[in-house]
C-alpha cells in the first residue's frame, strides 16, 4: 500500500535534486537521475498493472491519507485511488515519460539549462501522477494545475525568445478558462452532493441521488475544463502555439500525457455524464467538430511540428467524440495507441529538427530517408498507425470510435471519417515532403546530415514497435479477439450506456473497410500529388482564396485577438491610466508628500542643542505635574 507513495514521490525527489543541485551535477548524472526516477515509478506502475492484470488485485486501492480541508460538515482528504483506469494512465505517463526522458538526454545535450529541463520534466511527471492518482476532484485539480504550470515552464523553456515565452503564457492563460469550469464543477458538486470523492460521487450517482440538472451542470463545467486542457474548440488555440517548447516536451506533454487529462477526467466522471445525455451530446458534437476542423487546418501547415500539433488536436477531438457517444473504452484505447504513435511522431520530428539544426519548415526538407533510415522507418510506421491502416494500432482504436459514432449518429460518423481521411492525407504529405524526393535545404545543412545518436533512436524504435502491436489490447470480436481492454476497464465504466455493440458484425466489417479505403485514398492522393506530381507547398503569401484562409488557421487567433484580447488590453490600459495612476498612485503620493512637508517643518525642533532639550524636558515635566494637580 505504501508503494504507491513512492511511485508519486520518486519524480518529486528527482525534481528536488535536479532543481536544487542541478548546476553542480554533470549533465550525464542529472539526465540519468531524472530518467531513472521515472523508471522507478514505471517499475512500480508495472507492478500495480500486473496485479490488476492477473486479477490478484481486483478491488481498487482507495487510501484516505490526511485531511486537507474541513468546514461545516464537509471534509476533503488527500487521497489516492489506484484502479484499472488510473493504472493504464500510470503506464503511459511513466513508460512513455521514461522513454522521452532518455530521448531528452540526447536531444538536449547542448543546452546550457540541461538540469533545469530535467527538473521541470520530473515535476511534470509528479503532477501528472497526482492528477491520475487523486481519489477526489480536489487532488486531481491540484495535479491539473501543476501540469499547467509545468507546461508553462517548458513551453517557455527558451524564454529569451519573446514569442516562445508568449506561447507559454498563452498556454497558461487559456487553461485558466478551463480551470474556472473545473472549479465551478467542484462547487456545484460540493453544494449539491457534499463530496468530491470519486467513489462517493459514483455511489450517489448510481443510487439516483444526484438530480439530473445538477449532473448536467457539473458535467458541462467539467467539460469546459477538459476542453481547455485537451485543446478542444473553442479553447484549442494554445496547443499549436505550445510547439515553441523543446520537441521532447511537445511529445510528452502536448501529445501523449497532459492533453489526454481531459479525456481522463471525463472518463473518470462518466457516471455524471450518464446522468446527463445533453452534456454527452455537447461533448460528442464538440469533439467531432474539433476533429474535422483541426484536420482541415493541418493540411496546409508547413511547420513539421504544427502539422503534428493540429493532428493531435484532431485526434483528441476523435477521443471526445468517443466519450460523447458513451464509448469510454474506445476513448481510453485511442488515448493509449495515440500516445504511442504520436510520441513517436513528435520524437521523430525532433530527430529531423536535430539533424537539420533547428529547421522546422518542411519546404526546406526532403529526401531525408537516405540519411536518417531509422527515423524514417519509425516515422512511417507511426504515420501508418495514425492513418488507420491495418494492422497497426491506430486502426483498431479509430475503428472502434468510428463504429461507436456510427451507432449513435450517422452524421457524427461522416464527420469523423472525413477527419480520418484528411489525417491520412496530411500525415503522408508530411512524410513524403520530409523523407522522399530531393533535399531542398542549403548545402551546408546537407553536409551535416546524419542519423541521430542511439539515445534518440532507441526510444523511437520502442515507440514504433508499440505503435505496431498496441492494437492487440483491443482486437474486436469481429476479428476473433476478445477485446481485452473492454473487460479490463469494465469495473470503472460499467455504468449504463457502455452498451454492447448494437451493430451487426457485417455492418462493422463494412465500416472498417470504408475507413481503411478512406485512409488508403488519402495516402494515395498524397503520393500522387507530392511524389509523382512533385508538388510543393506554396511559399508564404502566395496562397489564394480558401487555401489562404485555411493556411491562416481560419483566422481564429486573429478573431480571438480582436474580440477578446484587444478589448481586455484596452480595458486594462484604461484602468491603468485612470484608476491606477490617478487614484491609487495619487492617494499614496499625496499622503507621502503631506508627510514630507510637515516633517520638514517639525524636524527643525531637533536642533541638536542639549541645553534646549533639557529645558524642554523640565518644562514638560512641569506641565505634566501642573495638569495632574489641576485635575485633582
Amino acid at each position: 500500500m505504501q508503494l504507491v507513495y513512492l511511485l508519486i514521490l520518486l519524480p518529486l525527489i528527482g525534481f528536488l535534486v535536479n532543481g536544487l543541485f542541478g548546476s553542480k551535477l554533470s549533465k550525464t548524472v542529472s539526465g540519468w537521475l531524472g530518467s531513472l526516477v521515472v523508471l522507478g515509478s514505471f517499475a512500480i506502475s508495472t507492478k500495480y498493472f500486473l496485479d490488476f492484470y492477473t486479477g490478484s488485485l481486483a478491488a481498487p486501492i482507495d487510501i484516505k491519507a490526511f485531511e486537507i480541508l474541513y468546514f461545516q460538515n464537509i471534509s476533503i482528504h488527500f487521497g489516492i485511488l489506484v484502479d484499472q483506469l488510473s493504472v493504464l494512465w500510470l503506464m503511459i505517463v511513466t513508460g512513455i515519460g521514461f522513454l522521452i526522458h532518455v530521448y531528452s538526454i540526447g536531444y538536449m545535450h547542448d543546452d546550457e539549462n540541461f538540469s533545469r529541463f530535467f527538473a521541470y520534466l520530473n515535476l511534470f511527471i509528479f503532477f501528472m501522477l497526482l492528477l491520475v492518482l487523486g481519489n477526489n476532484l480536489l487532488v486531481t485539480y491540484a495535479g491539473w494545475e501543476g501540469v499547467s504550470l509545468c507546461s508553462y515552464f517548458l513551453v517557455g523553456f527558451w524564454y529569451k525568445n519573446e514569442s516562445y515565452s508568449n506561447a507559454g503564457k498563452k498556454a497558461f492563460i487559456v487553461n485558466r478558462v478551463g480551470d474556472l469550469g473545473f472549479l465551478l464543477a467542484m462547487f456545484v458538486l460540493l453544494y449539491y452532493v457534499g463530496s468530491l470523492n470519486f467513489s462517493d460521487l459514483k455511489a450517489e450517482a448510481l443510487g439516483g441521488n444526484i438530480p439530473s440538472n445538477v449532473a448536467l451542470a457539473a458535467a458541462l463545467f467539467l467539460f469546459v475544463g477538459a476542453a481547455a486542457k485537451s485543446a478542444q474548440i473553442p479553447l484549442y488555440t494554445w496547443l499549436p502555439d505550445a510547439m515553441a517548447g523543446p520537441t521532447p516536451v511537445s511529445a510528452l506533454i502536448h501529445a501523449a500525457t497532459m492533453v489526454t487529462a481531459g479525456i481522463y477526467l471525463v472518463v473518470r466522471t462518466n457516471f455524471l455524464y450518464d446522468l446527463a445525455p445533453e452534456a454527452m451530446q455537447v461533448v460528442a458534437v464538440v469533439g467531432a467538430a474539433t476533429a474535422l476542423f483541426a484536420a482541415t487546418i493541418g493540411i496546409f501547415q508547413n511547420d513539421i511540428k504544427k502539422v503534428l500539433a493540429y493532428s493531435t488536436v484532431s485526434q483528441l477531438g476523435l477521443m471526445f467524440l468517443a466519450v460523447g457517444v458513451g464509448a469510454y473504452t474506445a476513448a481510453v484505447f485511442h488515448v493509449i495507441t495515440h500516445a504511442f504513435f504520436k510520441a513517436c511522431l513528435f520524437l521523430g520530428s525532433g530527430s529531423v529538427i536535430h539533424a537539420l539544426h533547428g529547421e522546422q519548415d518542411i519546404r526546406n526538407m526532403g529526401g531525408l530517408k537516405k540519411w536518417m533510415p531509422i527515423t524514417f522507418v519509425t516515422f512511417l510506421i507511426s504515420s501508418l498507425a495514425i492513418s488507420g491502416i491495418p494492422p497497426f494500432s491506430g486502426f483498431f482504436s479509430k475503428d472502434e470510435i468510428l463504429a461507436a459514432a456510427y451507432e449513435h449518429n450517422i452524421g457524427l460518423w461522416l464527420v469523423a471519417s472525413l477527419a480520418s481521411l484528411f489525417t491520412a492525407f496530411y500525415m503522408f504529405r508530411l512524410v513524403f515532403l520530409t523523407f522522399n524526393t530531393n533535399f531542398r535545404g542549403t548545402e551546408e545543412q546537407q553536409k551535416h546530415l546524419h542519423e541521430s545518436p542511439s539515445l534518440i533512436t532507441i526510444p523511437l524504435i520502442i515507440l514504433a514497435a508499440l505503435a505496431v502491436v498496441g492494437g492487440a489490447m483491443g482486437i474486436p470480436e469481429v476479428f476473433g479477439g476478445t477485446h481485452w481492454m473492454k473487460n479490463f476497464l469494465a469495473p470503472v465504466v460499467a455504468s449504463g450506456s457502455g452498451a454492447a455493440h448494437a451493430i451487426s458484425h457485417s455492418t462493422e466489417l463494412m465500416l472498417i473497410s470504408i475507413a481503411s479505403i478512406a485512409a488508403v485514398v488519402g495516402i494515395a492522393f498524397a503520393y500522387f500529388r507530392f511524389v509523382k506530381g512533385g508538388a510543393l507547398p506554396l511559399k508564404d503569401g502566395e496562397e489564394k482564396g480558401l487555401q489562404k484562409v485555411i493556411y491562416n488557421k481560419f483566422y481564429v487567433d486573429e478573431i480571438y485577438n480582436a474580440i477578446i484580447v484587444k478589448p481586455l488590453m484596452t480595458l486594462s490600459s484604461l484602468a491603468y491610466e485612470i484608476f491606477d495612476v490617478l487614484v491609487v498612485d495619487g492617494v499614496v503620493n499625496t499622503l507621502a508628500s503631506i508627510t514630507y512637508w510637515k516633517g520638514k517643518q517639525i524636524r527643525l525642533l531637533q536642533s541638536g542643542n542639549i541645553g534646549f532639550y533639557l529645558i524642554m524636558m523640565v518644562l514638560g515635566a512641569c506641565a505634566i505635574l501642573g495638569i495632574t494637580i489641576w485635575q485633582l
Partner: protein, 109 residues
C-alpha cells in the same frame, strides 16, 4: 533604634519636605544653567537624592520600611546608571576634548 526614630520624628515632617524641595530645585537649576556635562551629572544626582530623602522621611514617619527598601534599590540602580553615564562622558571627552554640552550639536536632522 526606637529612640533614634523618636528623635527623628520630633523634627516636623514639613522640614524634610522643604529641604528636599530646595535640593531638587538646586538640581534642576544646575541642570538648566550649567554647561559642563559633569556638573549637570552631579546636579542630576542631587535631584535623585532629594527624592530619596523624601522617601526615607515618609517611610520613617509612617513606620513603613518599604520606602527605605526602595531607596536602597534606587541607589543601586543609580550607581549602575552613573557608571554608564560617566563612561559616555569619557568617550565624549576623548572625541571632543571637552565636556561642554554646547559642543555636542552634531546629532540633529
Amino acid at each position: 533604634m526606637s529612640l533614634l526614630m523618636n528623635i527623628f520624628q520630633e523634627i516636623p515632617l514639613h522640614n524634610y519636605l522643604f529641604l528636599s524641595a530646595i535640593l531638587f530645585c538646586i538640581g534642576v537649576f544646575g541642570v538648566l544653567l550649567r554647561r559642563n556635562a559633569i556638573i549637570i551629572f552631579m546636579s542630576i544626582e542631587l535631584m535623585f537624592n532629594a527624592v530619596n530623602l523624601l522617601l526615607v522621611a515618609f517611610s520613617t514617619y509612617y513606620s513603613d520600611s518599604g520606602g527605605q527598601v526602595f531607596v536602597f534599590f534606587i541607589m543601586a540602580v543609580a550607581a549602575a546608571e552613573v557608571s554608564v553615564g560617566l563612561a559616555i562622558l569619557v568617550t565624549i571627552y576623548r572625541n571632543l576634548h571637552s565636556v561642554d554640552i554646547d559642543e555636542l550639536k552634531s546629532l540633529k536632522w
